[in-house]
Symmetry: C2
Subunit: 392 residues, 2 copies
């Protein structure tokens, strides 16, 4: 038959990063391109124990259809953890379990975004958010992400417009792709502006637990609770394949987002919610995270040292946590072209251009230090240094 | 802050059925209202074995991020089963694993439906489809569902319009809510019209395996493969909480739907895909389904007999499979009002009105026979008979 597509999908093309990741899968390639957690930390044995325990109980409803909002004890666990970590008093009623936090972005697009609405996003920004929200066809407005957070002057200029955005998207801790974080002062300044201008922030926080330097800072959701949807995820701290994320929402959003969730897929897998909850009861999550943090922190230092050694003069961010680090190459280097050379030298990264909604910045690149050990990182950055010298 | 919503969600309200199901959860109530599979058939032990096996293997990627399209061996299993059951030659490349088949409806709405597009749906129709597709604001056009399938005269009238629908939604086997099926002749007639008028059908088939009378009929997807997306699900035959459904798509749809899936939630839970696949390797699915069929078939007969005995003169459908049966009450009975009386007599059903896109038919009701044993069904229908006599 004659194909047809909705207008919102007529021009959509496969993600560039998908293609890059395919190329980078060649086993000869040292890849800093992926965004995958290190599988050495996946708790296979503990999850096997938890699975068996959940399945031995035939009256816990673990295999039946389940509540759209999520498994109540897991929502309670998340609420308790916010109190323990940040002194935030939140009700589990305001927490919805999503199919990974990616789904939260889709639900928020569904419920909140009209075609053509202005939507502010930090730049460079998380590609998954750009993809999920693009489906609802907002007009993205980039605000530069600086070393200490959002560029407040740029933000103020946008918010001074009469028809300014009602929504703002940002990753406040160890951002993907840059590794940058919002300082306490920047969080406070952003919170003030959200309240003053009646703007809702999607505060995405998949990496916040993975801090290996400095101190935990309060989410903006603590500073302006009615103006923030805070997203969280177990993917980076326990297990990605379970697809368990959540959103902490202000009261006014709960009902419509729950309806959107029901329309989208009824509910998130109830079995793995119970398995994860059982795992969290029987194991010390903080100890587990500490092990991940220690290794990622060491690997980050190895990457920084290798960059200083093999890529002299190249600027890069110094993340205090998370999985990514951001290179700023000399102005005249196009990272897309650099990628083609690099892949021949068996090293891969992600060129930065797709992370911009104003796609004229070509000399940046994202590197992940999460998936490779220190010796591999050194060798990979050595290759990268050779490639950069070649191109210069 | 001042709440705001996208236009598509401004008027959305919680589903009526959700409210009904809450009332029906009182343990004194015999509920025929739910649509839940009978949990007695959930294979707890076998899934525990499969989970342990999957988790013992540390190199199968079961806990890592996974492919958007789904676990390749599971897609192959589904393709093989289509060949075995219907002689359909399908490629696993055309199968995408979804988070329950509900998600397939959302993905198809995203990729295909513009606001105001005509979209034909059988009437009464599956509420979950109406909810999922409503998000994309089509103009629903009802076509009556008769005892042998879609009303072809009504369908032809709609397809004769110059700006006719490009999409048609239907459940061809043991439909939710009526239990009705499309005959072979009706399937052929629908297939012809899809091809002639360049229409895409969403053929939803969650219950097809649960046939306890008559012979399996080929899906319309076999008769017009380029014009049909066939949806399937493991929820009714193995386990609902895993949220594992799939869509079999024509080539022209695969790429955009895969992108929509990636934007929506990256991928379906990879762990449970491997667990289910391991279960399917080690157990005989046909034997398992045979046990479910036998019991549901007996329960359906019990309900039919009880209806004849306690509700004389009330018309009802005679499903050859599935979980539901449909009552047509006397013209002047409003099933919504009947529900209020019934709940006081401790019996529950779902009034039929929400299943219509033309909501002026008030005297119908959906009953599920899947969840109650024969004695409970007899007692529940006895109560229902009393309630109907009261109201008449």
């Amino acid at each position: 038959m004659q194909p047809f597509f909705a207008q919102r999908f007529a021009k959509v093309e496969p993600s560039f990063i998908r293609e890059i990741l395919k190329v980078a899968m060649n086993p000869d390639v040292i890849s800093f391109a992926g965004g995958l957690p290190n599988p050495a930390f996946f708790p296979h044995e503990q999850l096997a124990v938890a699975s068996t325990k959940v399945l031995q109980n035939h009256s816990n409803g673990a295999l039946q259809y389940a509540a759209t909002e999520g498994f109540a004890p897991l929502r309670q666990y998340i609420a308790d953890r916010y109190f323990k970590q940040y002194g935030m008093q939140v009700s589990p009623d305001n927490i919805l379990i999503t199919n990974g936090s990616q789904q939260a972005l889709d639900l928020l697009g569904k419920v909140l975004v009209n075609e053509g609405d202005n939507l502010i996003i930090e730049e460079p920004g998380y590609l998954g958010a750009i993809q999920a929200l693009s489906v609802y066809q907002p007009n993205f407005q980039g605000v530069a992400l600086n070393d200490d957070g959002l560029d407040l002057a740029e933000l103020d200029t946008l918010l001074a417009e009469p028809n300014h955005a009602r929504m703002l998207y940002g990753v406040t801790n160890f951002q993907n792709p840059t590794g940058l974080s919002y300082s306490l002062e920047n969080r406070q300044a952003v919170a003030e502006r959200l309240i003053k201008h009646d703007v809702l922030m999607i505060e995405d926080n998949p990496y916040g637990e993975l801090r290996f330097e400095g101190e935990h800072l309060p989410p903006i959701a603590k500073l302006a609770p009615d103006n923030v949807v805070l997203l969280g995820s177990f993917s980076k701290v326990v297990v990605p394949s379970f697809r368990l994320g959540w959103m902490l929402m202000p009261d006014w959003l709960c009902q419509k987002v729950t309806i959107a969730k029901q329309a989208s897929d009824l509910h998130t897998n109830g079995f793995v919610q119970q398995v994860l909850h059982s795992y969290l009861q029987e194991n010390d999550l903080d100890e587990h995270i500490e092990r991940i943090r220690t290794v990622y922190g060491r690997q980050k230092v190895a990457m920084e040292n290798a960059l200083l050694k093999y890529c002299p003069g190249i600027e890069f961010t110094r993340p205090e946590g998370g999985m990514f680090l951001w290179l700023k190459l000399p102005q005249h280097i196009n990272a897309m072209e650099l990628f083609d050379v690099a892949i021949k030298e068996n090293v891969a990264f992600v060129p930065g251009q797709p992370f911009y909604v104003r796609p004229d910045i070509l000399n940046t690149a994202r590197l992940s230090y999460a998936g490779a050990d220190e010796a591999t990182i050194e060798e990979g950055i050595k290759r990268l240094g050779r490639v950069i010298s070649q191109v210069l």
